[in-house]
C-alpha cells in the first residue's frame, strides 16, 4: 500500500478536473492507499463551505466528508490562494486544512506517487 499526493489547480465547476482528483482519491483509498490532496489556485474553491448542490454542477462535499472519515485521506488548501479569493478560515469546509505551499512539497517528499493536475 502506498501514498499518493495529488495537487490540483482547477476550478470547482466546469472542468471536471477536481472531480477527477476526488474520484481518484476515493478509488485509491478504497484500495487501501493513503492520499493527500493539495488544492491551490482556483482549486481552493473546493474548500469553501456551504456549496449548494445543483444538478448542473458537480457536488463533491459529500465524497470529501466520507473520505475524511476513513483516516487515510487529508485535504489541504493553499492559504494565500484562498484568502485572495475572499475565503477566510471560517469559510472553510470541516476537515479541510489550510497551509502554505511548503506543506505540499513535504507531502511530495514522502509520497510514492505524485500527480499534479495543472491548468484550469
Amino acid at each position: 500500500m502506498g501514498k499518493l499526493t495529488i495537487g490540483c489547480f482547477s476550478s470547482l465547476v466546469g472542468s471536471l478536473s477536481l472531480d477527477f482528483a476526488v474520484k481518484l482519491a476515493d478509488a485509491a483509498v478504497k484500495k487501501g492507499h493513503r492520499v493527500d490532496l493539495w488544492v491551490s489556485g482556483n482549486a481552493t474553491m473546493l474548500s469553501k463551505k456551504g456549496q449548494k448542490a445543483f444538478k448542473d454542477y458537480s457536488h463533491l462535499a459529500k465524497t470529501l466528508t466520507e473520505l475524511f472519515a476513513t483516516g487515510n485521506f487529508q485535504a489541504t488548501a493553499c492559504e494565500a490562494c484562498a484568502e485572495a479569493r475572499g475565503y477566510h478560515k471560517d469559510d472553510t469546509m470541516e476537515g479541510f486544512k489550510r497551509h502554505s505551499m511548503d506543506w505540499y512539497l513535504a507531502s511530495c517528499f514522502s509520497a510514492d506517487r505524485v500527480l499534479l493536475i495543472g491548468g484550469d
Partner: protein
C-alpha cells in the same frame, strides 16, 4: 538524510492561466519545506521552460504597471536569487524567434548570482529522468 528531486516542467503561456506562476511559487516553497521534514532531508526543485512556456522568461514584463500583478519575470528572478535551477529550452526559444538577450537569464539586479541556463531539450529530458517526481504546468 534524503533528497527528493522534483521536476517542474512549464509548457503553458503566462497570464492566461495561473499555472506558470504556481509552478514558480511552489518551487520556491522548497526553501521553507524543512520545517515539515526530518533533519537533513530536503526537496530539490528544477524548473524547466519548454514549448510556449519559454514566453514566461521574457524580460521587461510590465504586468505590475498595467494589472497590479507580479510578473513572471519577477518570479523567475526571485527563484534565481534563491539559487533554484532554471532551464530554458533552446530549440523552443529559437523556433519562436526569440534571442537570448530578450530572456531573464540572471537576477543580478536584485543581487542574485545563479544564472538561468539555455539548454537543448536533451538536457531537460535528463532532468526529467533524474527527478523523483515530475509535474507539468
Amino acid at each position: 538524510m534524503a533528497v527528493r528531486k522534483l521536476g517542474f516542467i512549464v509548457r503553458s503561456l503566462p497570464y492566461k492561466t495561473e499555472a506558470s506562476r504556481l509552478a514558480l511559487t511552489h518551487a520556491i516553497a522548497s526553501q521553507t519545506v524543512e520545517i515539515y521534514l526530518e533533519d537533513g532531508d530536503s526537496v530539490e526543485p528544477a524548473v524547466c521552460f519548454i514549448e510556449d512556456g519559454v514566453m514566461n522568461c521574457l524580460k521587461s514584463q510590465q504586468a505590475m504597471k498595467h494589472y497590479g500583478v507580479t510578473s513572471l519575470e519577477q518570479h523567475i528572478m526571485n527563484a534565481l536569487l534563491l539559487d533554484l535551477k532554471i532551464m530554458i529550452c533552446r530549440e523552443d526559444v529559437e523556433r519562436l524567434g526569440l534571442k537570448e538577450d530578450q530572456l531573464v537569464m540572471d537576477a543580478e539586479a536584485i543581487g542574485g548570482e545563479t544564472r538561468a541556463q539555455l539548454v537543448p531539450y536533451s538536457e531537460i529530458q535528463k532532468v526529467m529522468e533524474e527527478a523523483d517526481h515530475l509535474q507539468f504546468f
